[in-house]
C-alpha cells in the first residue's frame, strides 16, 4: 500500500514536471523574443557592428542580413527566427 502511494506521488510529480516543461522553455525564449521591424533590426545591426571582428560578428551580421531578406519577403516568423539567432550570438 505504501509502495502504491509512493508510486502515485512520483507519477503525479512527473506528470506536473512534463506538463510545465514547455512553459519553462517558452518562458526562457520569451526573454529573447524579438519583433521584426526596422527599429529592432537597426538596433541589432548596431549591436553587431560594435562586436570585435571575429567569427561571432560575421555570424551575427549574416543572420541579420537573412532577417532583413525575410522581412522584405513579408515572412515575419522567419525574420524573427533569424533575429533570435543573431541575438543569441551577440549576447553570448
Amino acid at each position: 500500500m505504501c509502495n502504491a502511494a509512493a508510486k502515485t506521488q512520483i507519477g503525479a510529480f512527473l506528470l506536473v514536471a512534463l506538463a510545465s516543461a514547455p512553459l519553462t522553455f517558452a518562458a526562457a525564449h520569451e526573454a529573447h523574443k524579438t519583433t521584426c521591424n526596422d527599429t529592432a533590426l537597426n538596433a541589432m545591426s548596431a549591436d553587431a557592428q560594435a562586436m570585435p571582428d571575429a567569427e561571432a560578428k560575421t555570424k551575427a551580421m549574416k543572420e541579420l542580413a537573412m532577417a532583413k531578406e525575410m522581412m522584405s519577403r513579408k515572412d515575419m516568423s522567419a525574420c524573427e527566427e533569424h533575429m533570435h539567432k543573431a541575438m543569441e550570438v551577440i549576447e553570448e
Partner: protein, 196 residues
C-alpha cells in the same frame, strides 16, 4: 605658338580644377539638404563605420604613445577605488558583470563597448579615452572634472573587470569608497574639482 604638350597639361589642370569645384559643390549640397541621416537608431553604412572607427583608433593610438603608464595598475587599492568609480560613472553605459542592458546602452550609437568582455586598448589608450572622451559619441571627457590619479584607478579596474564574476564584481564595488568620498578626497589634494 604653344606646343601640344603644354596644351594637354593646361587641359588636365582645368579639368582637375573643375572636378574639385564640382566635388566641393556636391558635398556642400549633400550636407545642406541633410542627405546623410544622423539618427542614432540607424547605423552607419559599413564603409562609413569603418572610416570613423579607423580614424578613432588611429587618433587615440597616436596620442596615447606619449602617456607614461604607472607601474602599479595591479595595486589592490587602485583597483578597488576604480571599481567604485566604474559603478558610479561607467556601468550605466558600459555595463558590468551580471548587469542587463540599460536603456542608455541600448540607445547609444556608436554602442558603448561592453567592457566586461575586455578591450583591445592598451592601458595608455584606455587612460586617454577616459580622460579626453571621444567626439560625437556619448563618451565624456572625465579629465575635465577628475584628476589623472582618479582616472588611473579606473584604468586599473578596467584591466581586472573581464575576470570578474557578477558576485565578485558586487563584492568589490561594495568594498569601494563612494564616488562622493573620492571626489572630496581629490578636491582636498588638488584644491579644485579637476584639471582642465
Amino acid at each position: 605658338m604653344s606646343d601640344p604638350a603644354s596644351k594637354a597639361s593646361k587641359f588636365w589642370l582645368i579639368a582637375l580644377g573643375a572636378a574639385l569645384v564640382a566635388a566641393i559643390a556636391g558635398a556642400t549640397l549633400a550636407i545642406w539638404i541633410g542627405l546623410y541621416n544622423v539618427a542614432a537608431d540607424i547605423p552607419h553604412t559599413e564603409p562609413v563605420y569603418w572610416l570613423l572607427e579607423t580614424a578613432r583608433q588611429r587618433s587615440v593610438a597616436v596620442r596615447a604613445t606619449a602617456i607614461e603608464v604607472p607601474g602599479n595598475l595591479d595595486d589592490a587599492d587602485r583597483i578597488t577605488s576604480g571599481a567604485g568609480q566604474y559603478a558610479d560613472m561607467c556601468a550605466g553605459c558600459h555595463l558590468a558583470p551580471g548587469m542587463k542592458r540599460t536603456e542608455m546602452s541600448r540607445g547609444l550609437y556608436p554602442r558603448a563597448p561592453e567592457l566586461r568582455r575586455g578591450s583591445d586598448l592598451t592601458p595608455a589608450e584606455e587612460f586617454w579615452v577616459v580622460k579626453h572622451g571621444i567626439k560625437a559619441t556619448g563618451m565624456p571627457a572625465w579629465g575635465v572634472t577628475h584628476s589623472d590619479e582618479f582616472l588611473w584607478n579606473v584604468v586599473a579596474f578596467l584591466r581586472k573587470l573581464p575576470e570578474l564574476s557578477p558576485e565578485a564584481y558586487q563584492a568589490i564595488v561594495e568594498s569601494a569608497p563612494s564616488h562622493n568620498e573620492m571626489m572630496q578626497e581629490m578636491k582636498a589634494h588638488d584644491g579644485h574639482t579637476g584639471r582642465p
